[in-house]
Subunit: 232 residues, 2 copies
């Protein structure tokens, strides 16, 4: 979407990113809205002919959202013929006063590589790019209709995140360095979108042997204070 | 590798397949050897401009190996700049008397989508395509040096297979409909490449609640016969 010439990019290939944010209680997703089109989409982009896929994704996410160094994991390639929508692309280009002829490669059929990440959304500042009105966090159950197959991409990302929940949470530094069992349970509940039993959850977490127990949280009333944990 | 014109294919994009075979005891991988080049590679191919990725992979695997309807799972996209090797591609085209000029798009940089499957290799007949001398099963610890980054792709496929071992084995119909605990353990041991304790393995499998127990295997000496199981 950088309004760049086809010569610089691999045609027919794009990436799209599902960036999940967590603020301690709720799980949300980053969505772009395009100028004057009422079109909503995941942040994404194209791959330069002389650029690694990894670099393309990192630079793309920075340009579209202002987020720097988000760690994104590939989760699936979406390659059906039906997924592309040249009409929507045309609207976006026109609303941004981009030359349709020069950018007509963007109207072609695209295979897209899906990425996802989990970040702490209170720690980031969002900056929309020049194609977008806004970039905003949407709660999972309040997502607007997204362009092309982006709603399906979100669904699939969520399925993958749920499947990989244990390693993802450890890897993502989503929590402060030291956290309570209750905070950890909040993350799980937001992702799995269901309440968990405190005792069962605690037993599972302790049996996974990934947590280190520290002193109790200082609350003033020591006898009821919860323990703090960190990942080993 | 079909010697086709660039007009028909998405440039810079390919797929490669790691097809694991299991015969009841050993785990092997399908490798192609190209005519007169001593170049070994994973079976792969390109995606038609008017073809879904899924169709491209299924047709490609059939053309390159003779295998029909292998269920393949995407596991990773390999997108570094360094992975391509135009010299190797040139050798393959020349050895097959293909027109270099007409096929020079094959010498470009490629991003490849990695797929893997697990099949019963005693049930299949292999047929090499016109570019290849042979298509052969190689034991994991006897793989030749493969072209480009194909050895890395195999490593990554194996890591993924090990991680997904439980669901993969259930999904892949790798065993006869009814099997003994010992047969199931053989599959796991071949994939994990390490011996497992019989009692621990059995307890784990039963606790996963995926097995249905049937009558004992008929061996003639009923008191020592093992039970048969099937997946629920």
């Amino acid at each position: 979407m950088e309004g760049e010439k086809i010569e610089n990019f691999i045609p027919h290939l794009s990436f799209d990113c599902v960036i999940f944010g967590f603020n301690g209680t709720a799980l949300k997703i980053l969505i772009l809205e395009y100028h004057d089109t009422k079109l909503f989409a995941l942040p994404g982009g194209f791959v330069g002919k002389n650029q690694s896929l990894q670099d393309a994704v990192q630079r793309g996410v920075k340009e579209r959202t202002g987020l720097d160094q988000v760690y994104l994991d590939q989760f699936q390639v979406f390659g059906s013929l039906e997924r592309s929508d040249s009409e929507a692309m045309k609207q976006i280009l026109q609303a941004s006063n981009e030359d349709l002829e020069k950018n007509k490669w963007m109207l072609d059929r695209f295979i897209t590589v899906g990425y996802y990440a989990l970040i702490n959304y209170e720690e980031v500042t969002l900056v929309p790019d020049r194609f977008s009105d806004s970039i905003t966090w949407y709660a999972l159950d309040e997502l607007p209709a997204l362009m092309m197959d982006h709603n399906q991409i979100v669904e699939k990302a969520l399925t993958t995140l749920r499947r990989n929940i244990d390693e993802k949470i450890v890897g993502m530094n989503l929590l402060p360095k030291r956290f309570t069992m209750k905070q950890l349970q909040n993350v799980y509940e937001a992702i799995l979108s269901q309440p968990l039993r405190r005792t069962t959850f605690q037993r599972k977490m302790l049996s996974m042997d990934i947590l280190q127990r520290h002193e109790k949280l200082f609350t003033g009333t020591a006898h009821k204070a919860p323990y703090l944990y960190s990942f080993k």
